[in-house]
C-alpha cells in the first residue's frame, strides 16, 4: 500500500518537478483535443445545417389565370401527396398583391387598374432525408398537373447545396480519421519526448533494482494527469468557441442555425487524451528500458 501511494504521489510530483515538459505535453494535448472536439461538433451539426438549408428550398407554382381558388386548393392538395413534399400553401390573388407590394413597394392595382397576378402556391420540401434531395422529379410531377401554368424553383442552388453535402458526407469520415490520427501521433510523440528527457531517471531506477512496473507507474499517472489537465482546458474552450459561433450566426447573419454539443463529447475527449497519454507513456518507458 505504501508503495502504491508513493507511486501515485510521484506521478503528481513529477508534474510539478518537470513543469516545462508538463506544459509542452498538456499544450499539445489540448490543441489536439480542441481541434478533434470542434471536428466532432462540425460532424454532428452537418445534418442540422443541411436541414436548415433545406427548409429554405421552395418551389413556386403559378396556376392558370382562369382557375378558381377552390380548384387551386384541390391542386395544392394533390401536390401535397407527391413524395418529398412537406407543405403546400395556396396564395390567392389578393395575397399576391400584398406580397408584390411588400417586395417591390408598388401597388400593382393602382398602376394597372386590375390584378394580373395569378393564384399561386408555395411548396416546401421534406428536409429530414439522408438521401440526396433532387427537386426535379417533384417539379416535373407538379408541372404535369392540370391547371398549373408555371413552376419556378432554385434548381441550381439546391443542386449545389445537395452536391456539397454529399461530398462532405463522403469525405468527412476519412478527413476525421486522418485528423484524429495526426492528433494521436502528436500527443504520443510529445509524451514520448517528455519521457526520453528523463532517461537518466529511468536508468537510475533500473540500477537500484526497480521493476518495470515500478518505473512505469509514475509516468502512467503523470500521463493521466496531463490528459486530464488538457481536457480540462480544452472542454470549456470548445464550449466558448461554439457559443461564440452561435452568437455570431444569430446576431450578424440571417441564418437561424444553432450548433449543439452533446455533453458526452467531453467524456470522450477526456478518455481519448487519457488513453493516448497512458499508452504513449507506457510504450516510451518500455522503449527506454529495453
Amino acid at each position: 500500500m505504501d508503495k502504491l501511494l508513493y507511486l501515485i504521489s510521484e506521478g503528481f510530483k513529477n508534474v510539478w518537478r518537470h513543469k516545462m515538459t508538463t506544459f509542452t505535453a498538456v499544450f499539445s494535448l489540448f490543441l489536439a483535443l480542441y481541434f478533434v472536439g470542434l471536428l466532432a461538433i462540425a460532424g454532428e451539426n452537418t445534418k442540422s445545417i443541411l436541414q436548415y438549408l433545406r427548409s429554405k428550398y421552395k418551389i413556386e407554382v403559378f396556376f392558370k389565370q382562369d382557375i378558381e381558388y377552390g380548384s387551386a386548393k384541390s391542386i395544392s392538395a394533390s401536390i401535397l401527396k407527391i413524395k418529398g413534399v412537406r407543405s403546400s400553401t395556396v396564395i390567392n390573388k389578393d395575397d399576391a398583391v400584398r406580397i408584390f407590394k411588400d417586395q417591390f413597394g408598388e401597388d400593382i392595382l393602382a398602376i394597372l387598374g386590375y390584378n394580373p397576378l395569378p393564384i399561386s402556391a408555395v411548396v416546401n420540401l421534406k428536409r429530414k432525408s439522408d438521401q440526396l434531395l433532387d427537386a426535379s422529379p417533384i417539379v416535373n410531377e407538379i408541372k404535369s398537373l392540370d391547371g398549373v401554368e408555371e413552376v419556378r424553383y432554385q434548381g441550381h442552388l439546391i443542386k449545389k447545396i445537395e452536391r456539397t453535402y454529399a461530398k462532405i458526407m463522403k469525405y468527412f469520415p476519412f478527413m476525421a480519421m486522418v485528423f484524429i490520427l495526426v492528433a494521436v501521433l502528436v500527443i504520443y510523440n510529445t509524451v514520448k519526448l517528455s519521457i526520453f528527457a528523463r532517461k537518466d531517471l529511468i536508468n537510475s531506477l533500473k540500477l537500484i533494482g526497480a521493476t518495470k512496473l515500478f518505473i512505469q507507474m509514475p509516468f502512467i499517472f503523470e500521463g493521466l494527469i496531463d490528459g486530464f489537465l488538457a481536457s480540462l482546458i480544452a472542454s470549456p474552450l470548445i464550449l466558448v468557441t461554439v457559443n461564440g459561433i452561435n452568437y455570431m450566426m444569430n446576431n450578424f447573419t440571417s441564418w437561424n442555425i444553432q450548433l449543439s454539443i452533446a455533453p458526452i463529447l467531453f467524456l470522450w475527449l477526456t478518455l481519448l487524451s487519457g488513453i493516448i497519454s497512458v499508452v504513449g507513456s507506457y510504450r516510451a518507458v518500455s522503449g527506454i528500458m529495453k
Partner: protein, 217 residues
C-alpha cells in the same frame, strides 16, 4: 560470493572481456585496476546483470547467470549497492529523496524510511544539507550521497566503478576509508579504479585487468 568461470563478453564493435576466472568471497574488499578500456566497467556490468556473458558462468550470491531470467534482475540488484564515477543521482529531487529511493523500490514502510535514510547519511558522514539538490553539492558530497544510497538498503555487495574519478585526492582518500568502514561491517566490496596510488599499501586484494583479461591477482 562473486564467482566468474571462463566468462567472456564481446561488444558488437569489439573489446569486452575474455575468459575471466576469479572469485570474491563474502566480506572481501577487492580492488579492480586497469587502464581506461581494460574492461573494468564491463566486468561490473556483468556482475549486476546489465550485460549477459557470451560464454562462461557468473555466480552472484545465490544467483547463477545460467539460470536467472531478465525479470529476476531487479530483485538481484536490490542486494547490490552501486557507486559510479558520475554519481547517477537524480537532480530533480533532494538528498533525502535520492537516498530514500531504493527503500521505496523495495517497499519499505513509509514510517521506517526517514530513520534508515538518516542512519545511512550519518554513516557516510553527510551532515546537514538533506534538503539540498545534487546540483548544490560538491563532488565529494555527491559521492557520499551516492554511497549512502548504495548502503541504505543494506546490500551484501557494493560495486564501486571509479568512484573517486571526479574527486580531489583528499575526498578520494576519505571515500576509500568509508568503503573500508562499510566493509568492516561485512559487506563485500569491489572497487574499480585506475589510480594505483590510492589503493596500494592497503593490504587488499587487487585484480588487474588488461585488454579484457586478468593479468594479475
Amino acid at each position: 560470493m562473486i564467482e566468474f568461470q571462463n566468462v567472456s563478453y564481446t561488444y558488437n564493435k569489439g573489446n569486452g572481456v575474455t575468459n575471466l576466472n576469479f572469485s570474491i568471497e563474502d566480506g572481501d574488499f577487492v580492488f579492480l585496476i586497469g587502464s581506461t578500456g581494460s574492461g573494468k566497467t564491463t566486468l561490473m556490468r556483468l556482475i549486476y546483470f546489465d550485460l549477459w556473458c557470451d560464454t562462461g558462468k557468473i555466480q552472484v550470491g545465490d544467483h547463477n547467470s545460467e539460470l536467472i531470467r531478465k525479470k529476476h534482475v531487479p530483485h538481484i540488484r536490490r542486494n547490490i549497492g552501486m557507486v559510479f564515477q558520475d554519481y547517477h543521482l537524480l537532480n530533480d529531487r533532494n538528498v533525502f529523496h535520492n537516498v530514500a529511493l531504493p527503500l521505496h523500490v523495495m517497499g519499505y514502510n513509509a514510517n521506517e524510511i526517514p530513520y534508515r535514510v538518516e542512519e545511512a547519511l550519518e554513516l557516510v558522514g553527510f551532515e546537514g544539507k538533506r534538503g539540498h539538490y545534487p546540483d548544490e553539492l560538491s563532488g565529494g558530497e555527491k559521492q557520499r550521497v551516492t554511497l549512502a544510497r548504495a548502503i541504505v538498503k543494506e546490500p551484501d555487495i557494493i560495486l564501486a566503478d571509479e568512484p573517486t574519478g571526479n574527486l580531489d585526492p583528499v575526498a578520494a582518500f576519505e571515500l576509500v576509508q568509508l568503503l573500508e568502514t562499510i566493509n568492516n561491517n561485512g559487506t563485500t566490496i569491489l572497487m574499480a579504479s585506475h589510480n594505483y596510488n590510492l589503493i596500494k599499501g592497503r593490504g587488499r586484494r587487487i585484480l588487474e585487468l588488461k585488454d579484457g583479461a586478468i593479468r594479475g591477482s
